[in-house]
Symmetry: C2
Subunit: 173 residues, 2 copies
DNA sequence: GGTGGAATTTCGGTGTCCGATGTAACCTCG
DNA sequence: CGAGGTTACATCGGACACCGAAATTCCACC
């Protein structure tokens, strides 16, 4: 497993403004992209292999999380909050209804709109999943030394701001 | 009514004294998960909307990046390096061949193995994509204030270590 | 010269998303 | 009141991102 070889152990920081044409040093943006990809893959995979029973699709979990806090919600609101297309959420909710995680009703105030509510089963599944998932990720975070852990925690708000910036240009305004 | 009765291992429970507000307190692990999801989605979306011409699938880009540095590579090596199943890489390479980005040959030393090489077109597409992508993400990073930018940079190595930790448990050994 | 095992490919399956299209319900305004 | 435009959703088809289980071909070693 190491013919090609090495995992990108972070090269020290590169000078800020490289001449466009580099295939060897990694910029921050490339490293960030790589980190995001890796984390996403690892997250998905580790959940599956560690807790193979009841594995909810991530996208559904996220909707459950939102629903756990804003109990009856409309499709459009869910979509907006998650920055997904309405059709995507609609489909997801369809699956979740089949799985018994949520129920769909009609908004009496606007009969075009459907309101989604969490079922008991949905709430249970969510807490079970959350427990398993955070178990895993907490373990990973705890495997870091203190400075690393602090660094991650400190970067979280900034990462959200980066996401926001990208979302702005890409979807809404 | 919440005895789901699964998750045999009782979690070590976060090291401390967080009151763990039921619905509303966000742990680091949840925040990190959320950030990763958002960033991934935003990355994909912003590329598509900002540079709708020539949009390469991310998975292909990553392979191109590897190939740009390790010129002829075998499928298995690519898979190992990206932590993907061999069949996944095989399929990706198939698409990339159709697109003219890479070429496939046979390893003379082991004729079962196929070696993949970057074509000129592949290299060009990669640099074009990279330019567009890093443009976008660099802009996002530069929209941050200095402390935020520093925080992100500082967290990168730690994030890679988190990914590594998760990968380990999930199929590495 | 046959057998076990490694490298790929193919195939089918799940999940994650989006846009286009259709439909009902809403809202105006004449 | 009714035509028209708009909104909220559901459905459909399609692109992408993955994986695991066969089938294939070749290597290595007795």
């Amino acid at each position: 497993m190491d013919a090609v070889g090495k995992v990108p152990t972070m090269p020290p920081q590169s000078p800020s403004h490289l001449p466009a044409h580099r295939t060897g040093s990694a910029t921050d943006s490339r490293l960030l992209t790589e980190a995001v990809t890796r984390l996403r893959r690892a997250l998905r995979a580790s959940i599956r292999t560690d807790y193979p029973w009841e594995t909810l699709p991530m996208a559904q979990v996220e909707l459950l999380q939102v629903l756990a806090e804003h109990s009856p919600a409309r499709i459009g609101d869910l979509a907006a909050r998650q920055r997904l297309a309405a059709s995507t959420v609609s489909g997801l909710i369809g699956q979740m209804i089949s799985a018994g995680l949520v129920a769909r009703g009609v908004d009496p105030a606007d009969r075009r709109a459907s309101v989604v509510t969490l079922t008991e089963a949905g709430r249970e599944q969510l807490t079970a999943w959350t427990r398993a998932h955070e178990n895993r990720l907490d373990a990973a975070l705890e495997s870091l030394d203190e400075p690393d852990r602090t660094a991650v925690r400190a970067a979280l708000p900034a990462l959200f701001r980066v996401a926001e910036f990208l979302e702005e240009g890409a979807g809404g305004e």
